[in-house]
């Protein structure tokens, strides 16, 4: 026990990134059940390691533990020191992200073991699970890498790996629609990635020491700082499916639902906003204009998307569109943070966790619906709650979480953003009030959808008694509980995330 207690957060970082990657490698060669177990084991290991790392960090949340791994000499040029680019580190912000990524990743792996089965009505899957888990675990590894990245460069590397994984996973079913969707997602996010590259190039050129460190922007000249920020912002837009790049996300709903849950609600799209959060957290002197750009575009996204989802019939697409708008929330939190409101910034960060749990839960619930019914069209479903009560609970808890009904997590984050916006006053206050309005609309719509789908007389027969689908049920229940308690974990953490001013 003493030995375990003496392990520092730092010692855990490398195994933490490595564990899912090893699991991924193993899964490539496994078939059916075996891959279920291996994936679950490695997801658990990752979770435990992450818990250890985060737990260790809790003793001093202001600390940053770094593990420098390597310098990149090939871009060092003739006369300058090689920049440090391979570096794992963990701090409060990273811990928040790590928490979301590993916990939901673990649940998704568990959930998938049942979802990808011949019993799935919508997409019966007999084999090919090894490939699935390999990509999924690779993705978990990449997301862990993003959370633990110690600088922009490292973040970018894992960022692009997630892009790749997303492409493979969206195309998992390999029908025409999913192939196209996967390709579209890949291209759009890769375009964003290139902007990231340009931003890195600019940082490199204009900074002699530590060009890729998170505080790099603060050391740039003001004009250049804004330019780099905008480049990073474009990258984040593409990744987080913001206007004008949001169109890939609804299409990406061709993916298996656990994938939609993990990639398109909890993890990958969060990478985009995480990047901006990083920038805002570490940079000094961001101009008003970049905050304005971030805020206005996020606001535009939110309202476009709200309008779109009012006329959607496909449950998953609704969730996808809603995800887009919630990423907008987080970006607005960051924008307000750039304007100087620590409260709103913390709210945005909290929303990463809150929305991850809430939307993840929604996706998993919808996944169970399709698993049992084979359809996800609202107009074809009714009375699902009678047949699948747990799913109904999951859906409603998720919906209330993302729309901000207290005491669920979404309330706290939205509340903080709102408070921050009103604190700043002026245009920020207008944004905040518009957010509140959006929240109301979304709430009404989700409630309507929930009632339409879960209430009334059942539209399908009861599933056979044998089909208990405990892995899925367990995942849904755990996430539902998380929706309530995640705030308890996240609130102490976000207080220790600095806001560069």
């Amino acid at each position: 026990m003493i030995a375990i207690a003496e392990i520092s957060a730092r010692d855990l970082l490398v195994p933490l990134v490595a564990a899912p990657l090893i699991g991924a490698l193993l899964c490539v060669f496994l078939k059916r059940r075996a891959s279920d177990y291996v994936a679950a084991i490695f997801a658990t290991i990752t979770l435990v390691l992450a818990a250890g790392a985060i737990g260790n960090l809790f003793s001093d949340l202001d600390a940053t533990h770094r593990v420098p791994l390597g310098w990149l000499v090939n871009i060092a040029g003739e006369s300058r020191p090689a920049p440090l680019v391979f570096e794992l580190s963990i701090d409060a912000l990273g811990a928040l992200m790590l928490f979301v990524v590993t916990v939901i990743g673990f649940l998704v792996v568990i959930y998938s073991s049942e979802y990808l089965s011949p019993r799935n009505v919508e997409h019966p899957v007999a084999n090919g699970k090894g490939r699935y888990y390999a990509w999924l675990l690779l993705f978990v590894g990449a997301m862990v890498g993003i959370a633990l990245a110690g600088n922009f460069f490292q973040l970018f590397i894992f960022w692009e790996i997630t892009t790749l994984c997303s492409w493979a996973l969206i195309s998992y079913y390999q029908d025409e629609a999913s192939l196209r969707a996967g390709f579209k997602a890949l291209i759009m996010t890769a375009i964003g990635g290139l902007f990231f590259v340009l931003a890195l190039v600019l940082m490199y050129l204009n900074l002699d020491t530590d060009p890729f460190a998170f505080d790099a922007l603060g050391r740039l000249a003001p004009g250049l700082r804004s330019l780099v920020f905008v480049f990073l912002l474009v990258a984040a837009w593409a990744k987080a499916a913001q206007f004008p790049f949001f169109t890939w996300l609804p299409d990406a709903m061709a993916a298996p639902t656990p994938i939609s849950c993990y990639l398109h609600a909890a993890a990958m799209v969060k990478a985009g906003v995480y990047l901006i959060a990083r920038v805002v957290s570490a940079s000094y002197g961001l101009s008003y204009g970049v905050g304005l750009l971030t805020g206005i575009m996020a606001l535009a996204t939110i309202f476009i998307v709200v309008f779109l989802f009012l006329f959607q019939d496909d449950l998953k697409k609704i969730l996808a569109l809603s995800t887009i708008s919630h990423l907008g929330y987080i970006l607005i939190g960051c924008a307000l943070g750039a304007w100087g409101s620590a409260t709103a910034f913390q709210g945005g960060l909290l929303h990463i966790a809150a929305h991850g749990c809430g939307k993840g839960l929604l996706f998993l619930s919808v996944g169970m619906i399709t698993y049992f019914t084979g359809t996800r069209r609202i107009s074809e479903l009714s009375g699902v709650g009678r047949r699948l009560p747990i799913v109904a609970v999951g859906f409603f808890v998720g919906a209330f979480t993302v729309t901000g009904v207290p005491p669920l997590a979404g309330f706290w984050s939205k509340f903080l953003i709102l408070t921050g916006g009103l604190e700043l006053g002026g245009f920020a206050a207008v944004i905040a009030i518009l957010l509140l309005i959006e929240s109301m609309i979304a709430f009404g719509f989700f409630l309507w959808v929930g009632q339409r789908v879960f209430f009334g007389s059942p539209s399908f027969d009861a599933p056979p008694a044998k089909a208990v689908a405990w892995p899925m049920t367990t995942a849904v229940i755990i996430l539902a509980v998380l929706c309530l308690v995640v705030t308890l974990f996240a609130l102490p953490v976000i207080q220790h995330i600095p806001l560069g001013m």
Partner: protein, 677 residues
């Protein structure tokens, strides 16, 4: 153990109870009794704590339970006089309704009880919490959780389309209202000198803002008032209420009307006593509140008169009665600076009516529930004369109905009387109030009218029920709550001073020091009669004991007179002017009752049109970026590619030409750009 620990203990008990009942949900009866047990113990604890506060007059507070550092807020449970009043009615209603539920909820086995008892217990916990915090953030949290829990219970019968629609309407309306409250709260918070959501800090914020931006204060107060009015069912914001209350399971309808809507009143009181310093804003908004209350009184009661569904009638009645409470509060707030004595009486009158309404409206819903339990219908046309088979239910219903209509001797009269008195006297200062009171008195008669209708159609009269109905009284576990709730209706009616004494503590606690005259100078010193002295002189009197003694005397006199002739009685058939009809043919339909009068007011409460959004194809197309930007862009790309690929024709000669041209170009380009290092 500190008294506040009783409250916290009760909350824990309720949460634990929720978990336990969730596990027991399959065993319906057992689940109900266990829930009752938990609620009963918790209610007693809460009641003891609340009563302690009311009797000592000093608030009690606990230690911080939870701290949200980014928002400088801690969760501290505090009970002051005002909270205590709400806690007491909550406890009473909780015990009664839960006991009532036990048998009531056994019937319909389509719905799992896991959505009933656990949620109900959590609901009570949230209600208790919401009135026991003095921090706006946690207030909002518990407030909205209360809404959430109540929503689940409103839509309990998920197969019922009305219930679904009502639930949707309810939750959306109140959520939006809460959004307003939230906004107002945050606006105050952001301007607070000390950033905190504690009431005290927000009060300082309001004080500061009053000097600098009165418009903003008006906005904030408007948001608060509208928000709480929505919850309290005050028209036009409480439009959801008549839809939502009837469709919930009857015991929960009782909770909704008896308990939850009251929390809206609590909110308004908190806003104007704890969040706003006494100023002309209080006066202005007091008048507005009174006006809103009167509008509700007028519209809802006249609409109630038109109803044929018993529970819907009761729901409209709730709005009307909430209107009375708001009127009283409005009068009180409006006059607080001008004539504190009248104001205190008005506030107490409001609180008194609130307590009374909690008793008799819950009771009425339980009565209606009992009738529904037996007959299976809420349509007053389909069942009548239940007094013959359900005497206890009927008697309690009559007591409640008479109480709510303000028949002297019952509690409703006492509180309404106080409202009218204070309103009329207040009218000396603000004439508008008198007109409001006149409306209120007029509607008091309307209230009486529709309760006559309710009683007459459901309980009194010829027994008229379907064949399948079991002809006996409801089980004892459903009778006990009804009787329990009838007791305060009578007790407070006969001895209003009993209640007023404690309400004075409550009202005194929330007012600024020096604003409340001594109890005896307001209400006289006799415990049996209320002798009001509002403007220094004695301005009104209500001695229920003396008058009831006289009334009983007169009754005896009348009885003696009527027995003078020692008349015999004889059973005869109904006389229909000599014609033979089956009763069902000649039964007078509910709809026709008061039809002429109702025609005058038929348009008062129009059905709310549900907007059907047309699919805005044009805008959707515009927002489909793929369609007009990306895909056309790709097509352009294809076109470019085709042009370029056409140049690769495949002749070596052509390619050689390219080379030569290329070389020439290279030379030209290089030289034109100039050399030189």
């Amino acid at each position: 153990m500190a008294v506040i620990d009783l409250l916290i203990g009760a909350l824990i008990l309720l949460v634990v109870g929720a978990a336990v009942t969730a596990l027991l949900a399959k065993r319906r009866a057992m689940c109900g009794y266990v829930a009752f047990l938990f609620v009963a113990v918790a209610s007693v604890w809460v009641g003891v704590a609340a009563f302690h506060v009311l009797s000592t007059g000093s608030p009690i507070a606990g230690a911080p339970v939870l701290t949200i550092a980014p928002l400088n807020s801690s969760l501290v449970f505090t009970v002051d006089g005002l909270s205590a009043v709400f806690l007491l009615i909550t406890s009473l209603i909780a015990v009664c309704t839960t006991l009532f539920s036990v048998r009531y909820m056994l019937v319909d086995e389509r719905y799992s009880l896991v959505r009933y008892y656990p949620i109900l217990l959590l609901f009570f916990a949230s209600v208790i919490s919401v009135v026991s915090v003095r921090n706006m953030l946690f207030f909002l949290v518990f407030w909205e959780f209360m809404t959430l829990a109540s929503y689940v219970l409103v839509v309990f019968e998920t197969d019922n389309a009305d219930a679904r629609r009502a639930g949707l309407q309810y939750f959306i309306a109140t959520h939006i209202a809460t959004g307003g409250i939230l906004l107002a709260t945050i606006l105050l918070y952001t301007n607070a000198p000390v950033k905190s959501f504690e009431f005290e800090a927000l009060l300082e914020s309001t004080r500061a803002l009053m000097a600098t931006s009165p418009a903003l204060i008006h906005l904030i107060l408007a948001l608060f008032v509208i928000g709480f009015a929505t919850k309290a069912g005050i028209l036009p914001f409480g439009f959801w209420l008549p839809n939502a209350h009837p469709v919930a399971p009857s015991p929960f309808s009782a909770v909704l009307s008896g308990c939850m809507v009251k929390i809206g009143v609590y909110g308004v009181l908190v806003v104007f006593t704890s969040l706003t310093p006494l100023s002309h804003f209080t006066t202005v908004w007091g008048v507005w509140i009174a006006v809103l209350g009167t509008v509700s009184i007028f519209v809802a009661s006249l609409t109630a008169l038109q109803q044929t569904d018993s529970k819907r009638l009761l729901a409209f009645s709730t709005i009307g009665q909430m209107g009375y409470i708001w009127l009283a509060l409005g009068v009180g707030l409006a006059l607080l600076r001008i004539s504190p004595a009248v104001a205190v009486v008005a506030l107490m009158a409001g609180l008194f009516h609130l307590v009374n309404h909690a008793c008799f409206k819950s009771l009425l819903f339980l009565n209606a529930g009992a009738a529904l339990y037996r007959t299976g219908t809420r349509d007053m046309d389909k069942a009548g004369g239940l007094m013959r088979i359900m005497p206890v239910t009927a008697v309690t219903a009559i007591i409640a109905a008479l109480a709510i209509s303000g028949i002297p001797g019952l509690n409703g009269f006492a509180s309404k009387w106080l409202i009218f008195e204070s309103g009329i006297v207040g009218g000396f200062e603000i004439p508008l109030l008198v007109f409001l009171v006149v409306v209120a008195i007029f509607i008091s008669a309307v209230t009486l009218a529709y309760y006559m209708k309710f009683l007459g159609m459901v309980f009194v009269g010829k027994l008229h029920i379907g064949q399948e109905v079991e002809r006996r009284e409801v089980p004892v576990s459903m009778l006990v709550p009804q009787v329990l709730m009838a007791i305060p209706c009578v007790a407070f009616g006969v001895l209003p001073m009993l209640a007023l004494k404690y309400l004075y503590v409550a009202a005194n606690g929330i007012l600024p020091a020096g604003y409340s005259p001594a109890f005896a100078s307001l209400f006289g010193s006799s415990p049996l009669a209320v002798n009001l002295s509002l403007s220094g002189l004695r301005s009104g009197a209500w001695g229920p004991v003396a008058i009831l003694v006289a009334f009983v005397g007169c009754l005896v006199l009348g009885y003696l007179i009527s027995r003078m002739g020692a008349a015999q009685t004889r059973e005869v058939p109904m006389w229909l002017c000599g014609e033979e009809h089956d009763f069902s043919e000649v039964r007078y339909p509910v709809h026709s009752f008061l039809l002429t009068f109702n025609r005058y007011f038929a348009k008062l409460y129009p059905p709310i049109p549900v907007p059907r959004l047309p699919r805005p194809t044009a805008i959707l197309k515009l927002l489909d970026i793929d369609r007009w930007l990306y895909y056309p862009g790709l097509r352009w790309g294809e076109r470019i590619i085709r042009v370029i690929s056409a140049t690769h024709a495949g002749f070596p000669q052509l390619y050689v030409l390219w080379m030569i041209v290329g070389a020439a170009l290279a030379v030209i380009v290089l030289f034109s750009m100039g050399g030189g290092p």
